[in-house]
Subunit: 370 residues, 4 copies
């Protein structure tokens, strides 16, 4: 297989992350098809050129349409603002490219559905960048559940919190608008937790949601009257999974002190699993076994016993970082392409996450007043 | 003031806790009225006598009606099974006694309301044993909030979990019945978290609840067919406080590995507070102040700076235990009696907690199916 | 057995702790001889009377010699400044009393040896108040080691730190003098860790010590020139246990942020145990067993499976506090008296701890200059 | 500046780490000279070729002497077994190459001194791979100390533990020999902690050491009689820094459950700093300031406020991993070469660490027998 040409659109937070991932993936995983950093797109053209030189891409462009139709490109990576995802992804699919798109899929459910249809029609591979599910600690949780280590699943809790919108004095930005950002905390972070929840518990069957905008206006960056915040700062929901289990979910972008807090607990009839992304190399496990006097939560430090950790370093406890997760994701995508199988989560898979976050936003619970 | 005569009904888990508390309270707090361990009630009479000797009570009886009308008794402590609370408390109040009753108040809202009416009519002091709110760490959280340390409150999460009903093979007991136990996890543990929530956030205005029985039957202790579990193993709710804030609440008696996990988080516009009863001498505080490079959650170890810790030991970090909380509670009750003021939480105060847990159980959320 | 008369000398930090312990011990442990709070000594007489009333002692005195010879007294509890221990303990033993003395035994090794000789001559029971070894978590560590859970022991680390002398601006006190305080951190806290070390690892065979006074002078409380600090703020040592294992030990009274930090690790050929007194209801255990993918340190929360925790409360994870440890210690002493057996640690046992801390202070390592 | 040609010797644990680091460094840090992955050396030749293809090197060789003299090579990275470091490094320096060598420098002090002399004579840049000091959390600790955040330094503790030699049944390997491995835990891990200690506290002036081989023999891999372990499993020392402060140091390669535990504490007159490599994205800080009721250890999660974290991801708390530290190290080396300044730690700097670990091994403390 000749190297797969990578075309990356965007050079910001996640753009750099993709560049590093496709740059390292073959060195980390000797058994994946080699990617070739072919074409980088950003605007203006000078920025694209400078970043291409830094990231090690062969060429640069300021025209994303040129990129998606470039014959040297096999995979289009989309790391642009969310409102651009749908148009770019659909164009790339129509041009016969595989598409690796950052989350959330799109601003609206309609867009996400259109992307999914385009993917089905194209016969190409798609993947949405739910990188946290690549963590060996998370995958170990899945394996434990599959092996019955905690028995029948009975309950789930998952919370994802950051504080980037906690300060009431932060000026208003596009993030506060439905038109530019779509959903708030739900779309930016909540969807990550649902990707984790579904992988552990199975599909979500129904939700009871409650969303809140706690900073109703923000100072206008141009001065003058404060401007309204149109989307959720905090969203919570009671979930029911297809297996009948109750789940509890909450996300906040205004939770002071939380930087990347993604905490989940899975309760089973024989044990409990707990994880916190802020200590992403640890997994906590309680099993109902052995002497009561020595039972407790065991803090498992990830290592080579938790694949594919050992591809990064052969020594346990040495720790993976955030960017390493994207390397694993890239490897999965490359393998799917090589094997001609669907990647996970494809656009179709990710659409179910979009449906859940939009349902949470749409639902309004029937309250009992006290 | 002559010593206040204590009449204690019950010598089990909480009976011993009350006995220790009233036995120590005057030594710990030099400024409270001295109690006198006067009369202990249990059945059979031999047990009552033996426990009276052990606990240091002057007399014993197997007749609780005799106790509540005994002229040497000023305070009746009720630590019997929940279904007996109402009758005993009302009789004691009618006999002119002050009543210190364990939680939850009663099996039903009707009983709790009758107890509240009896208290109002009696003019005596009442208190329900929500001991966790006595923790200096919890009281410090309240003080911080009152002082504005975390700004305007915007969100609450509170979870209380144990594993005493986690094992699917545990035989059926009275705890599984509405008639004997009333609510399940909600009544046994959930009410504790709501007592903490209300103290931090203010009254609860409305709830959206969802309750589940995850072990639908349990083996019959006499053999034969399994018997049904009639109440909640797990209960979750989205709360709205009177101040408009969203709250998230969950409780499980089937959460493996949790022994006395009572975790709450309060999110404010300037900071976050977190607490876990399993580390009851610690409080975590994040404040949006100072250099970003040195911000983080501070783990405060309780000490003399957190009254009334210093009454137990003058050295910080030496730690209080579960039984110490009841000593503080007893001191509060003795002071209320001496001062002729209402104690907190009186029957009227605790009734609002009963109303909340019954509303959670009664509500059935309007789900959006996916 | 008629109740044992308790005579307590001192009403400060540890005096109150003893009063609470002997007041509660019979209620907590139904199977120990009942003590009788008979006589309390402090000066002036008014203080003694007031505290006797608060603590529940029958009588008060300002004359400790009267107390130790009082015929109603069976047990003399000594909680006075260290320099008074020897004279009081020897007088009490000569008067035929059992003696429960706070740590450290005395200012000097000579005094400690004289106390030990007096104890042997008297035929009475003695105990030194190393209360931290009463912790069910600690005792569980000992049991695990005894059961071979971590294999052959190979290494020990123990550190005990507080910050009560951390502030350079704290005024000079008697604590800084050899004549009044004797050793510094070693005598005040270090001895506690050695009591724990010996219980886990066995006797200490040799030491290489290094002590430091990091605040060489302190402001004179009367103004004028700063006054010298004559004893150790920090002391460290490499130990060799009788079994040949290396141990590492350090103590500081100037460790900012440490309130009652007593951390130990025991390394064995099949596992590791770790404990921190600031989380005194937890024990961490790693065992080399099972699948590498699920190995890790297990955090054991103490409960009824760790005797005598269950005497305080039947529910795991509810937590004991600092004062509860003294209740257990008092129970042990009462049992030893009832059974006519030596208590642990008797004066003879505690003398070995004194020898170790004085050896650390005396030794001066042979350094290799770089 | 044209790209610097990288010649890497070794493709194991640290070889892969170097390959990834030099492959990513320019993408991560836009402002460093671009390296070019030129030549990879391993044996046999087939392995070298395969790994060159995987790691992205242009050419491969099985002859390290050819590599060090190859004109396209500017920087020689040495990641071979320790006993080969000296010969390779000296040859590379003599060939005019810059040398990036893994730790420890060499088997013996003589070798390390010869390497240092060769470096001085060559005028080329050298660096020893003490990667843990690149951690933004560690560098933040240094900055805090430099800014006086914890006052005058008074004490240090540092422990580094793993369990890769904990199992008594592990077969004997070359690691057990002086001739192949040199020192044991001291050389493999202890030197890392000393690199951290020196960066925080300054040079080490003297040591009192005590080393132990706790598994005195190991099963022969060929069967037959067990073979002797010739070097330290555990090493401890009391240090004195040039500034007069006492330090405590210990390392074990037989500490069950420790995977990459590198814990240090720095005690100052106004605060304490604590770090654990197993939670490498956290730093704990206590400062004596503000209200006692809100003091405590603050857990700082690293983020863009801790350079150069922000080069990897702009979002705090997202976490760096082990391999990222080598990227930072590579950037430092490239900058030193570009700027014509000494890198830190150069061979001369690292020689002081070698001197310290050999002094610990050589010293034998003067014990006081009890």
């Amino acid at each position: 297989m000749s190297p797969l040409g990578i075309g990356l659109i965007g050079t910001g937070f996640m753009g750099k992350c993709h560049a590093l991932a496709y740059g390292a993936v073959r060195a980390v995983f000797g058994d994946v098809p080699a990617p070739r950093l072919e074409l980088l797109c950003d605007t203006p053209a000078e920025k694209a050129s400078a970043m291409a030189e830094q990231f090690g891409f062969a060429r640069a462009t300021d025209d994303w349409r040129a990129l998606v139709s470039d014959p040297a490109i096999d995979i289009v990576c989309i790391t642009t603002p969310n409102k651009l995802h749908a148009e770019m992804a659909i164009a790339a699919l129509e041009a016969g490219k595989h598409v690796h798109c950052e989350k959330p899929m799109a601003l609206t459910l309609d867009e996400a559905r259109a992307m999914t249809r385009a993917a089905e029609k194209s016969g190409r591979r798609t993947m949405v960048g739910y990188n946290y599910i690549r963590n060996p600690a998370y995958q170990h949780a899945r394996r434990l559940i599959g092996d019955g280590a905690i028995g029948r699943l009975i309950h789930f809790r998952g919370f994802v919190d950051e504080d980037y919108q906690a300060d009431p004095n932060l000026p208003w930005t596009w993030r506060a608008t439905q038109a530019e950002a779509g959903l708030g905390a739900l779309g930016d972070m909540g969807c990550h937790m649902l990707s984790m929840a579904i992988g552990l518990m199975g599909p979500i069957a129904s939700v009871i949601g409650d969303i809140r905008t706690v900073h109703e206006t923000r100072p206008s960056p141009e001065g003058g009257a404060p401007r309204p915040v149109e989307n959720d700062d905090i969203a919570s929901a009671i979930l029911t999974f297809a297996g009948g289990q109750q789940g509890l979910f909450s996300t906040s972008r205004s939770a002071w002190g939380r930087k990347n807090s993604m905490v989940f607990e899975v309760h089973g009839t024989q044990g409990t699993i707990r994880f916190d992304q802020e200590r992403m190399n640890e997994l906590q496990l309680f099993r109902n076994e052995g002497d009561a006097a020595t039972q407790g939560f065991t803090t498992i430090l990830t290592g080579p016993a938790h694949p594919p950790y050992g591809q990064f370093t052969p020594a346990a406890g040495h720790q993976l970082g955030f960017n390493d997760l994207k390397v694993i994701e890239a490897a999965e995508f490359l393998r799917a392409i090589a094997d001609g199988k669907e990647a996970y989560p494809s656009f179709a898979d990710a659409l179910t996450i979009e449906e859940a976050i939009h349902a949470i936003a749409a639902s309004s619970g029937q309250r009992i007043e006290l």
